[in-house]
């Protein structure tokens, strides 16, 4: 296995981007990543793109080829592959790009992720997101996607005494970070009262416990690590990559409050990096709902099962805390264009490790982790990165 480095990153603004099409978004993110990397373009061996449901969101499938075409690479005829794993599509695309270089097959690849979610009305977006759940045995009976995470929250509150206020504190923290991120959908702070009193979506989760519907794209350029410094002064190495699966339906899991896909994917990544959770300086985790961030910091091993709520309350995960989590604003405030999210997390970790995160820069950021979940936890990708 060869070492792999990130040599370029690119993001579009995240938000309701009415004047930008699906193909414009991914072409913009890709072009920014290529410019950032210092490559010309002809060195690119392959593309991997994450997209959850372009077919339902914009009526377009076959997006591997579309992305190559839209970014001006149809004439080089490079292989371009679309990866789908619901909300973890981006993270899995990063891993496929990583594996293709680690294996020796490719030297330089572009990894992209995108979703254009605002070309359908709200109810259709909700329905499309519910396709990440088990259609026959969850959604058929009226379970929504927020409803599944709400059931995790109810159980977490019952078993561990986690409070609605602790859930709200996750949203308040992530909005405070998002306020410092010029690419975030919501660049404004919210108060605990606003978060706690927001309209109920699925009890106990309110509107401000939920990540929004977002348009956006993200891209990174991956390169064999021994060649990385030919292109960029500050490459960032991927030192661990893990992926795991679990039952599609939440009800079939070993424990409703534990995402075993996170446990197993992170274990795989820690083992490869020869690290423990204590060695991680900061993390981007999958906070599609506030309860998801609490489960994530537990399942990634940062705190014990059941202590996630307390950790939030004790401000361990704020920008100045001992383990800053979601410095980008997370899915909650930065936005959650599902296919783009896993790639955008690696963009944020890379910027932090290069010392280019500006107002949200974590002090002495040496090792960062990106954690991307599909559905209610049926799939997960974890990457650990280190400055070279």
């Amino acid at each position: 296995m060869r070492d792999v480095a990130v040599i370029g990153v690119g993001l579009t603004k995240f938000g309701e981007l009415w004047d930008k099409s699906f193909r414009q978004l991914i072409a913009e993110a890709g072009a920014k990543a290529i410019l950032d990397s210092g490559i010309e373009g002809k060195e690119i061996d392959a593309m991997y793109v994450g997209s959850m449901s372009s077919g339902r969101f914009v009526g377009q499938e076959h997006v591997g080829a579309l992305v190559a075409d839209a970014s001006g690479f149809s004439n080089t005829h490079i292989p371009s592959t679309r990866i789908e794993s619901a909300c973890a599509s981006g993270g899995l695309a990063v891993r496929q790009g990583y594996l293709s270089i680690a294996s020796g097959m490719n030297d330089i690849v572009v990894v992209g992720g995108m979703e254009k979610m605002n070309d359908v009305v709200g109810a259709s977006a909700t329905e499309t997101l519910a396709t990440a759940a088990d259609q026959e045995w969850e959604a058929f009976f009226g379970a929504t996607f927020p409803g599944l995470y709400a059931m995790i929250a109810t159980k977490h509150m019952h078993d561990y005494g986690t409070t609605k206020e602790q859930l709200a504190q996750v949203a308040v923290k992530n909005h405070a970070n998002g306020a410092l991120n010029p690419y975030a959908q919501y660049q404004r702070e919210i108060t605990i009262e606003q978060a706690m009193n927001a309209t109920t979506v699925a009890y106990p989760l309110g509107l401000l416990d939920c990540s929004p519907v977002t348009d956006g794209a993200a891209s990174i350029i991956l390169c064999a690590a021994d060649k990385a410094k030919e292109y960029i002064d500050k490459p960032v190495k991927i030192i661990g990559s893990g992926q795991a699966s679990d039952s599609l339906a939440l009800h079939a899991r070993r424990d409703i409050c534990t995402l075993d896909s996170t446990v197993y994917a992170s274990r795989m990544a820690y083992k490869q990096a020869n690290l423990t959770p204590k060695d991680i300086d900061f993390a981007e985790v999958h906070d599609c709902f506030t309860i998801a961030e609490i489960c994530a910091i537990e399942d990634l091993g940062f705190v014990k099962k059941g202590e996630g709520g307390k950790a939030i309350e004790n401000k361990i995960t704020t920008l100045n805390g001992s383990l800053p989590v979601n410095t980008s604003g997370g899915l909650k405030a930065k936005g959650h264009p599902v296919g783009a999210t896993g790639v955008a997390q690696v963009v944020e970790v890379t910027l932090q490790l290069r010392g280019e995160a500006e107002k949200r820069q974590v002090k002495d950021a040496k090792i960062g982790l990106a954690h991307n979940v599909g559905g209610s936890g049926a799939s997960c990708a974890v990457h650990i990165l280190e400055a070279m």
């Binding site: 045995w137 009976f141 159980k155 699925a202």
Partner: protein
């Protein structure tokens, strides 16, 4: 988008009559039924036997849905729960015939055959199980 009717009638035995299956090797019970047992794998091949479940269980966790998909809009707010059936498997279903505030973790429930939803005013009507509180005699 119209959906084929076969997608629904092929699930009728499970959704109407709670037919699960049992591994002939380790005796574990599954609902919905599985092609093979994920614990015994090849040893279970050809040994999975249909079994009728009693439709009783206990609420493991729940939520009250306030924002639903279009198909369920006229039913909001409605409780939905993960239920651990007496025979072991866990399933997701709506809780009916009670006040929303009465739904609690640990509540004993039993299945009841109900309309789940319909495709508009002229489309197919889909039936299946919902659950209600067990009234102690």
């Amino acid at each position: 988008m119209g959906e084929g009717v076969a997608r629904f009638w092929r699930e009728i035995p499970q959704r109407y009559n709670f037919i699960g299956n049992k591994c002939g090797s380790c005796k574990r019970i599954f609902f919905p039924p599985r092609e093979s047992c994920p614990y015994c794998r090849r040893k279970s091949m050809g040994k999975m036997k249909d079994i009728k479940l009693n439709g009783k269980g206990e609420i493991v966790t729940y939520t009250i849905i306030h924002v639903s998909s279009e198909d369920f809009e006229e039913q909001v707010p409605y409780p939905i729960a993960i239920i651990k059936l007496d025979e072991g498997p866990q399933i997701t279903a709506q809780i009916v015939d009670c006040n929303i505030d009465d739904v609690k973790i640990g509540m004993k429930v039993e299945s009841t055959f109900r309309k789940i939803r319909q495709d508009g005013s002229t489309g197919a009507i889909y039936y299946g199980y919902k659950f209600k509180k067990v009234i102690e005699q």
